[in-house]
Amino acid sequence: MNTTLPHEKLTLLENFGHSLRSPAYVFQPTEVDEIGQAFELTKQTSLTVTLRGAGRSYNDAALNGGGIVLDLQRLNHIRTWNPESGIICAEPGVTLQQVWQTVLPDCWWPPVVSGTMFTTLGGCLGMNIHGKNNFRMGTIGEHVLEFTAWLPTGAQVTCSPKKNGDLFRAMIGGMGMLGVFTSITLQMKRVHSGLLEVEAWNVPDLKTHLHDLEARKEDADYLVGWMDCTAGGRGLGRGQLHQANYLHEGDDPDAKKTMQVEHQTLPARFFGLLPKSILHTCMAPFMNNLGPWSANTAKYLIGRHKTYRQPHAAFHFLLDYIPDWELAYGRDGLIQYQSFIPKETALDAWTEMLNLSHRRGLPAYLGVTKRHRPDNFLLSHAVDGYSLALDFKVTDGNRSTMAQMLQDFDRITLAAGGRFYFAKNSETTAETAIRFLGEETVVKFRLLKKRCDPYNLLESDLFRRVFSDA
C-alpha cells in the first residue's frame, strides 16, 4: 500500500496570472539533501512531483494538481561570489534580486534578467529566460558555466557546456522535468555604472515598430518595445521603443554611488504620495476594454523622443513597478500569449493576429516586443526574429471566444515558422508543441527524460499538457 500524505497538507497554489488554481502537497526543503527525500516520498506515494520557485510562470509550469510540489525558495544561499572574476555560485532558490544586489556594488550585473527580479535562478534556468538583450547576449543558459543537479534516479551530476553537454542543453529550458538544480554557477557582466543610457521614441505602426527593432539592434545593448494593442487601423502595432546602453568607463562621475543598492531601489510611492501597494486595487475597476484603451492612447500621445539615464533595476524590472499588478485583472486573472516569429514573416503574422483580436473584441491590454536570436538549447523558444507578448484579461464570458482566438494565433504562428515559450502560453497543446519543436527534438527529450527519470516522478501540469501522448 502507498504512503498517504495528510490531506490537510493540501495547499491551493496559483499561477502568476491568478487564472489557475490547483491544490498540491507542498514541501519546502531547507537543505539540498532533502531533495533526495522528496523523490523517495514521491515514489512511496505513487504521486508525481513538480518543482516550483517563485511561482512567476504565467501558466501551469509550477502546478501539479493533486500531486507534490517541491518549493525550492528556501534553498536560497549564495555559495560563493568572486568579485574579481564575476563568477557567482548559488542555490536554485536564490532570486535575481539577491544576485544583482550582491554583484552590482562590485561593478557587475547579471548578463540576462527577466522583467521581474523575484524569479529564482532555478526557475530562470528551468525556463531558460531571456531579457531585453536576447539579440545580443542570448538566454541565461548561455552564461551558465556549470551546474550540479539531483536526478530522480538518485544520481547527482555536474553539467557544463563541455561536460554532459546533452544534459546541459536539455535541463536548461527543460521545465524542471529532468532533475533539480542544486547549485548554479553563472558568469556576470562587467558594468561601469549603476545607470543605463536610455533612449525612448514613438513608432506609428507595426512596420516601423519592427523596422526600428531591426535597425537599432547593432548598436543597442538592450532593446524593448511597448505596443499599444488597443489601437487598430493605421495605428495597428504603434507603440514606443526603448533602447538602453551601458555607460563606458568614466561616463558616470558618481559610478560608485549609482552602483549602490539604495540608488537602484524603486520608489515606494507614486508622485511621492500614493503608496504603490494599493495601486492595483485602484486599477481594478478600469481593467475593461475602455480603461487600457485610454491609458495606452494617452501614453502614446504624450510619448516624445527623449534620452535619459536610468538605474538598471528601474529599466529592467518593469513588472515590479506596481506590486501585485496582476491582481488588478480581477477574479479570473490574466493570461499571456507570446509568439516568437522569424523576422521575415513577423509583420504579416502579427498584422493578422492584431486584426483578429480587434475583430473578436478582445484587444490585449499590454503588448511587449523584443528582438531575439536562436540558441542551441534542446527545447528552445528563440528564433532569428521578434517576439510579441500579449496580456489578456480572462473573464467568465470571454473564455470560449478567447480560446478560439488563441487557436487561430497558434495556427498563424506555426504557419509563419514561429515558436512558443513554455513559461508563458497556457493553452499550447501537445500537437502544437510537437509541430514547432519537431518530432526529433521531442523524441530526444523523451529519451533523456527516461534516462534521468525512469519512474516519471517529475511531472507538472505543463508537461502533461505539452508532452502528453495524445
Binding site: K9, L10, P23, T48, N59, D60, G66, D469
Partner: protein, 263 residues
C-alpha cells in the same frame, strides 16, 4: 483503479477550466443520473461504487458522449475504510484537484414491523453513516485546508422522524443529516459549502417492492434538483420541493399521535 486503457482527463487551463467531482455510489439511481448530468455540465468525474461492471459501462457511455475522458471508474466498497485515504489521494491526483464531493451511497434493509435484526441494522449504519463519515472526514480536512470546495450528502426525508417501519434507516439518515449540519457549521467559515439533499420517494432500486410509496419522482428529476442546488450553493434541498412543507408538518406532529401511526 481505473483501467490502464483510459487516458487520464485533461487538466484545467485558464481558458478551459474544469470542475472536478467525486461521486460515491454512482452505479445506479440518483448517483448515476447525477454523474450523467454533471458530465454534461463539463465536470471531470471520479465514479465509485461496488459494482465494477456497471461503473465501467457508465464511464464508457459518458466518455463516448463527451469524446474525451470525463469519467474514471474506481470500484470501491464504502465499508472498506482502510483503503480509503490512499484511494482519495489517488483520485485527487488523477483528477488534478477536487471541487465537489457527493456521498450518495445508501441502502435500506427493512426488517418488518415487529422484527429486529442487528446484522441488517449494522449494515445499514455502516453503509449509510459510517461510510459517509469515513469519506467526509478526509474530504472536509482537504477542503478546510484549501478554503474551497463543495460537499453534498444524500440524506433523506426519512431522517426527520423515527418511524415504526424502518428504524435503522431513519436513524442512519438522521445521523447523516446531523453530521452534515455540523460539517456545514465547521466549514462555512472556510468558504466550503455543504449541501444536505433530502429526496422523498425516488424511482430507484431502493423502493423496488416497497409498499405505500407516493409522489414517486424519476431519478433524473432528483438529480436536476440537486444540481441546481449545487450551482446555487444551497445548504439544503428537498426533492421534490413540496416535501419541505410536508416535513415541516411531520416534524411537528406530537409524539402521542406519531406513535400511533403505522408507516
Amino acid at each position: 483503479m481505473p483501467p490502464i486503457t483510459t487516458p487520464l482527463p485533461r487538466r484545467a487551463t485558464p481558458l478551459q477550466p474544469r470542475r472536478r467531482a467525486i461521486i460515491v455510489g454512482a452505479s445506479s439511481g440518483i448517483g448515476l443520473t447525477l454523474a450523467r448530468r454533471l458530465a454534461r455540465e463539463g465536470y471531470t468525474l471520479a465514479l465509485l461504487a461496488r459494482r465494477a461492471d456497471l461503473l465501467a459501462s457508465l464511464c464508457e457511455e459518458i466518455n463516448n458522449a463527451a469524446g474525451e475522458t470525463r469519467a474514471l471508474a474506481y470500484p470501491h466498497d464504502v465499508t472498506d475504510y482502510d483503503t480509503l485515504p490512499d484511494l482519495l489521494q489517488r483520485i485527487v491526483a488523477d483528477l488534478g484537484g477536487l471541487d465537489l464531493f457527493i456521498y450518495n451511497t445508501g441502502i435500506s434493509l427493512p426488517v418488518g414491523l415487529k422484527k429486529y435484526d442487528f446484522e441488517k441494522d449494522r449494515r445499514t449504519t455502516e453503509v449509510n453513516y459510517l461510510g459517509a463519515l469515513a469519506w467526509l472526514n478526509p474530504v472536509a480536512a482537504m477542503f478546510q485546508s484549501l478554503k474551497a470546495g463543495q460537499i453534498v450528502g444524500l440524506s433523506s426525508v426519512a431522517g426527520e422522524r423515527g418511524r415504526v417501519g424502518n428504524p435503522s434507516y431513519n436513524a442512519s439518515k438522521a445521523a447523516l443529516t446531523c453530521y452534515l449540519e455540523a460539517m456545514r457549521n465547521r466549514l462555512s467559515r472556510y468558504g466550503v459549502n455543504v449541501l444536505t439533499a433530502k429526496p422523498g420517494f425516488v424511482d430507484t432500486d431502493m423502493i423496488l417492492g416497497a409498499k405505500g410509496t407516493f409522489w414517486v419522482i424519476p431519478a433524473e428529476q432528483a438529480a436536476a434538483d440537486i444540481c441546481r442546488a449545487i450551482r446555487k450553493r444551497r445548504q439544503e434541498v428537498y426533492t421534490p420541493a413540496r416535501w419541505r412543507w410536508v416535513m415541516l408538518i411531520v416534524r411537528n406532529i406530537p409524539s402521542f399521535i406519531f406513535r400511533r401511526l403505522i408507516f
